[in-house]
């Protein structure tokens, strides 16, 4: 093979390999980073309640949804499906969870809020999604959620839907499970 050709081929082959490696090593972390920068993954951590005036003039519907990730065998549902609240007013609702298996399991709820424009104006003061949820086989629990809707919620938003997906994290949370026992 001629020298110039060999150089071209080596350079091209190396670029192909680098692109392949970049798919695993650069793309997923970059994607996560972008999601965080743009606030796409922001579903809210704990909110320090401050004194805000309740806007009694305005009513906002808040709906609650529960879904299971594919293989999650628990029973999981909101005990209240819908509430009407004033912005600024603290509200507490409960979800119900029951471990239908006969072995101890740990679950994690992951929240999602629609519409996207409401994400920054829905504050969770206390939420079961901040913690792991360990339950013995057959045990059930009521999971509390305290939230407040911000007064600056954009005017066009009249309904906010809060969805929780329940994931089985028993494998990942083995140490926590040992404490439970």
């Amino acid at each position: 093979m001629e020298k110039g050709t060999r150089k071209t081929v080596l350079r091209l082959a190396l670029s192909a390999v680098l692109m392949f490696v970049a798919v695993f090593t650069i793309m997923p972390p970059l994607y996560t980073l972008l999601c965080e920068v743009t606030g796409l993954r922001k579903v809210g951590g704990a909110y320090e309640a401050e004194e805000i005036k309740v806007d009694a003039e305005r009513w906002v519907n808040v709906q609650f949804v529960a879904t299971h990730n594919d293989a999650m065998p628990w029973e999981f549902r909101p005990m209240t499906y819908k509430v009407k609240v004033n912005p600024g007013q603290k509200t507490v609702i409960k979800y119900f969870a029951k471990n239908n298996t006969d072995r101890p399991m740990v679950a994690q709820a992951v929240p999602s809020i629609t519409p996207f424009s409401a994400v920054n104006y829905f504050h969770k003061i206390e939420c079961f999604c901040f913690n792991h949820q360990p339950l013995e086989g057959g045990e059930s629990a009521e999971l509390g959620l305290e939230f407040v809707v911000d007064q600056d919620l954009p005017k066009q938003v009249t309904t906010i839907t809060l969805s929780y997906t329940l994931f089985d994290i028993t494998e990942q949370a083995k140490p926590g499970l040992a404490q439970l026992n």
Partner: protein, 516 residues
Amino acid sequence: MAHGPAKGLTRWLYTTNHKDIGSMYLWFSFAMFFLGGIFALVIRAELFEPGLQIVQPEFFNQMTTMHGLVMVFGAVMPAFVGLANWMVPMMIGAPDMALPRMNNLSFWILPFAFAMLASTLFMEGGGPNFGWTFYAPLSTTYAPPSVTFFIFAIHIMGASSIMGAINIIATILNMRAPGMTLMKMPLFVWTWLITAYLLIAVMPVLAGAVTMMLMDIHFGTSFFDAAGGGDPVLFQHVFWFFGHPEVYIMILPAFGVVSAIIPTFARKPLFGYSSMVYATAAIAILSFMVWAHHMFTVGLPFIGEWVFMIATMAIAVPTGVKVFNWVTTMYKGALTFETPMLFSIAFVILFTIGGFSGLMLAIAPADFQYHDTYFVVAHFHYVLVPGAIFSITAAVYYWLPKWCGRMYDEVLGKTHFWLAFIGLNLTFFPMHFSGLAGMPRRIPDYNPLFANWNMLSSVGAFLFGAAQVLFLYIVIRAIVSGRKATDQVWEGAHGLEWTVPSPAPYHTFTTPPKVD
């Protein structure tokens, strides 16, 4: 040096000759074109009327998936690689490709990849049924067991494409005849050079995407599984980062073909050669900045929708330059309308229609209405069928006399053109209307509201299919008993490939020609 081809089957197995390998690529893609066409006709037969008549929904999904995969990776891409193998060395005055042995390998792994892909249809659980875009989790959590074979088939195709691309770049950069400067190269060579760079940039991304799927399915990772901290939307980003340059991989060589044919039959040099080169490069660069326009509805931030919308629309500028140049080349030319020219003119008109529907889809707020409807199907078939397929057909008619030394039958060729032209428009134009009316993609049954448009589409599809059978007959007839072609073949043809005898000898340009 004047030794001819070897005899028997081993000639084809062991050959390192760019013309033999080019022919094998072309015949292979022709076979895949018919296989993908049969899948398409199963789809159109089922959609002839509302309701389920012929196939079950599960099988219908496998047909839409396999049709797309076979046409993209089996028909269009190998056909262009075949054309590159035949024409690039002859156009730049090189004796062969730079890496002949690898050339043989990159062809011969393809039949195995497609045999593996096609065999999934007979496996338990059926073949891939998640669409040619194989979005996770449809292709991971909910995929049939045969998905692993699909992944390996994609790996092999990717390896073949990367080797082919490396070979083409190495040939063009290192083996040009003395005096053949970059800006003297025919546009087909230029477009393939740029396409080959696109292939090297994105085929590894496709390989990475299917490898991540493989690991999610079998090795417990969760790149695309939300339960393990992954994200299915990441799959769509990775896929379309490959997928959008991929659609230009399928169209840039077509631009090159048409830029060779139109000047020949207009008997004028190509208008704006250097602007064509820069426009091609601009399209290639922009193709990396627009991928998320396939995902306007996944929930991108507003700024993302805006940026991808503007970048997408910007592609219309270099594309407009090209269309302008082709039209201006024809303007006041001494035009004749042989079959390759008919296909090329149809290319310019119909590809532009496909470009316009692409602009409509690029408008992010409007796209929410069009997304995943038959309007999208109409759009990409208008750019791929009269774009890629018509240009490949035109190239075959144009260069076939040089390949086999015999002319095709002009009357039959024109008949083929008109049947294909009518069939194509009858198939895909009504899809614009059914799509705007809201008919979703990839469904075996539909609202009777869309029945008339679908019946027209199905009639057109069978007409188009019949036209391609005629094409096969025309090609075989020309090879077997066509009238002898002259060396120049076409009165207005210029370029090194027309200076060698017809048919082109087994070895050409063993001593480099002088280009001035």
